[in-house]
C-alpha cells in the first residue's frame, strides 16, 4: 500500500519535475549559497532565507543584483558569475525546499 502511494505521488510530480541530472545540477549550484544562506536555504542568521522562496521572486532579485537595481554589498559581484539558466535551476531548487 505504501509503495502504491509513493508511486502515485511520483507519477503526479514527474511531468513537472526536472530530470534527476537537472535536479542535481540545481542542488549543486544551490549548495554554494548555503555557506551564507544556510543549508538548503534555511536557518541562517542575518541573511535572507532562500528556502521556499517563489521561483520568480528569486530570479527577479538575482537579476536586479546583477543589473545593480537592487543595492548589495556582495551579491552584485556574485550574481554576475551565473548564467540565466543557472539562476533558473537555483531558483527552482530553493522554491522546492520547505521554509
Amino acid at each position: 500500500m505504501r509503495i502504491a502511494i509513493v508511486c502515485a505521488a511520483a507519477l503526479a510530480v514527474a511531468p513537472m519535475a526536472a530530470s534527476a541530472q537537472q535536479q542535481n545540477a540545481g542542488r549543486d549550484l544551490a549548495a554554494s549559497c548555503a555557506m551564507c544562506h544556510g543549508t538548503n536555504g534555511r536557518g541562517a542568521v542575518g541573511y535572507e532565507p532562500l528556502a521556499g522562496m517563489a521561483k520568480q521572486d528569486l530570479v527577479r532579485k538575482f537579476t536586479e543584483f546583477r543589473s545593480g537595481a537592487k543595492p548589495a554589498t556582495v551579491m552584485h559581484q556574485i550574481s554576475k558569475g551565473y548564467t540565466d539558466p543557472q539562476v533558473q535551476l537555483i531558483a527552482e531548487y530553493f522554491a522546492a525546499q520547505k521554509r
Binding site: N24, A25, R27, D28, L29, A31, S32, C33, A34, M35, C36, H37, G38, T39, G43, A44, V45, G46, Y47, T73, V74, Q77, I78, S79, K80, G81, Y82, Q86
Partner: protein, 423 residues
C-alpha cells in the same frame, strides 16, 4: 562497496573500528558503501555532512583528532579582544543528526591498495572512498631556530586556531605599552591570504585602546600586501595612524628569542612579541599518504571531483590542495570544495557520472576593527579547455569601502558557515 569483515579482521581491530564494524553488521547490509573522512575542518566536516544529506544510504565516518572544532576565521578577533575562544569553539555533535559517525582519533597511515586507514587507538577503518582534509602543517626548518623558539613558547605562529591563539593573546596582554609586535608573513601561497593583515588591524585595535604607544611591525616575504591591499592600507592609515608599519620583500630566515630578534634576508628586526608565521605545506597525513604532487608541498586534485591526481579513490580538500587559479586557501573555499567532492562521491558510489560543470562561489570577510569589515568575493567554474576551475571574468570583487554593515554580515557569515559545516 565490497566492504567485508571476517572474524579474524574483527579480532585484529580494536576500539572504534570494531565497534563501527559491529554496528554495520547489525543494522545494514554488507554492500553499503563507506566513506571515511580524515579531518573535521571546514572541508572535511562539510563533505561528511553533505554526503549524508544527499545520500543517506552511504555510511560516513569522520575521523578527527580534536574533540572540538576551533575556527581560524574570527580567531584574529580573539587576539584583538573583541571575541573569546568560546566564540570560535564548536561541538561536532550537530553532524550526528545527519548520521555522520564521528571517531575522535588520529589517522596514522593510509593503505590505498587495501583501502584502509590505520588509526592510533582504534585499529583500522576500511573505505570505498576516502576524503583527506588535513589542513596545513608548518615548514619550521625554513626558519633557523624556529622549532626551539616555539617550544619555549617565546615565538608563536597562531596560524592554527587553538592553544597558540590563547598564548599569543596572553603575550599581547603582558606586553608593555610602547612595545613592538612583529608579525612575519611567509611567501604566498599560505593559509588565508588576508589573514595576516586582518591580524595587524586587530592587534592595533587592541593597542589603540590599551597600549597606545605600541607598534605593529609587519615584515612580509611578499613584495606587497597580498590581499585587499588598498582597503587594508586605507584602514591602517585612517584607523591606526602611525601604529602599523609595513615592510615588503622582508622574508624571515631565522629567529632568536634570547635577543628578541627576527632575522630577515636583508636586516634584523627586534620586537617584544614575535609572531612568526612559517611557510606551510599540506598536513602531515597527506605526506604519509603519498598525496603530495607539487613542490613537495601541495596535493594535486582533479577539480571536477577533487580526486587526488596521485592516488585513486582518495579525494583531497581545503588548504592542503594545490589551489586552482585564483582560488585562495580559505575555510570558505574548503566548505565550497567539499560540496563538489560530496556530489562527486555520491554520484560515483551510485555508478553515475559526476556533475560535469561544478561551480562554486567564495566570500571571505576581514575585520579591520572590532566592528568594521571588508570582503573579497569570487565565482569559480569548471573550465573544460583548461580542465580546472577558473574564476568567472567580471564576477567577484572587493568592498568599495570598509563599513559596519559588512561587519555585521561578517559575523553572520561566520555563524552561518559554522552551521553549514557542522550541522
Amino acid at each position: 562497496m565490497n566492504r567485508t569483515f571476517d572474524r579474524r579482521d574483527f579480532l585484529k581491530l580494536g576500539g572504534a573500528a570494531a565497534a563501527l564494524a559491529a554496528a554495520g553488521c547489525a543494522t545494514t547490509p554488507q554492500t553499503r558503501a563507506r566513506v571515511v573522512v580524515i579531518g573535521g575542518g571546514f572541508g572535511g566536516a562539510t563533505a561528511a555532512k553533505y554526503i549524508r544529506l544527499w545520500d543517506p544510504a552511504i555510511e560516513v565516518v569522520l575521523v578527527e583528532r580534536a574533540n572540538l572544532f576551533t575556527s581560524c576565521p574570527i580567531s584574529n578577533l580573539v587576539l584583538g579582544g573583541s571575541k573569546t575562544m568560546e566564540d570560535i569553539r564548536h561541538s561536532y555533535d550537530g553532524l550526528r543528526k545527519y548520521g555522520v559517525q564521528i571517531v575522535f582519533d588520529e589517522a596514522l597511515a593510509v593503505d590505498a591498495a587495501k583501502r584502509s586507514v590505520r588509526l592510533e587507538r582504534g585499529g583500522a577503518l576500511s573505505y570505498d572512498r576516502l576524503i583527506v582534509a588535513p589542513g596545513i602543517d608548518f615548514m619550521y626548518d625554513q626558519i633557523a631556530g624556529y622549532d626551539a623558539a616555539m617550544k619555549t613558547g617565546r615565538v608563536l605562529h597562531g596560524w592554527k586556531a587553538g592553544a597558540q591563539t590563547v598564548g599569543l593573546r596572553k603575550q599581547l596582554m603582558q606586553m608593555k605599552d610602547g612595545g613592538v609586535y612583529v608579525l612575519s608573513v611567509p611567501l604566498a601561497p599560505y593559509r588565508c591570504p588576508p589573514g595576516p593583515y586582518e591580524r595587524a588591524c586587530q592587534v592595533a585595535s587592541y593597542f589603540k585602546k590599551a597600549k597606545p604607544r605600541s607598534k605593529v611591525l609587519i615584515v612580509d616575504a611578499n613584495p606587497d600586501v597580498t590581499s585587499k591591499g588598498p582597503l587594508f592600507k586605507k584602514a591602517w592609515a585612517e584607523l591606526y595612524k602611525g601604529m602599523i608599519e609595513f615592510r615588503g620583500n622582508a622574508k624571515a630566515i631565522g629567529v632568536d628569542p634570547k635577543t628578541n630578534t627576527v632575522k630577515l634576508e636583508v636586516e634584523d628586526v627586534k620586537g617584544d612579541v614575535l609572531n612568526v608565521i612559517p611557510p606551510q605545506r599540506a598536513g602531515d597525513l597527506a605526506v604519509k599518504a603519498g598525496l603530495i604532487t607539487a613542490n613537495n608541498r601541495w596535493c594535486g586534485v582533479d577539480w571536477l571531483t577533487t580526486e587526488s591526481t596521485a592516488v585513486k579513490g582518495v579525494h583531497v580538500l581545503g588548504d592542503a590542495t594545490l589551489s586552482a587559479p585564483g582560488m585562495p586557501k580559505s575555510g570558505a573555499m574548503a566548505n565550497q570544495q567539499a560540496k563538489i567532492c560530496a556530489s562527486a562521491v555520491v554520484a560515483l558510489l551510485n555508478g553515475r557520472a559526476p556533475n560535469p560543470e561544478p561551480k562554486i562561489a567564495n566570500t571571505c570577510y576581514s575585520y579591520v576593527s572590532a566592528d568594521e569589515a571588508i570582503h573579497v568575493a569570487s565565482v569559480h567554474t569548471w573550465n573544460a579547455q583548461q580542465k580546472t576551475l577558473t574564476t568567472v571574468p567580471g564576477a567577484g570583487g572587493v568592498s568599495s569601502a570598509r563599513n559596519a554593515l559588512e561587519g555585521s554580515y561578517a559575523w553572520a557569515w561566520a555563524v552561518n558557515i559554522w552551521q553549514d559545516t557542522l550541522g
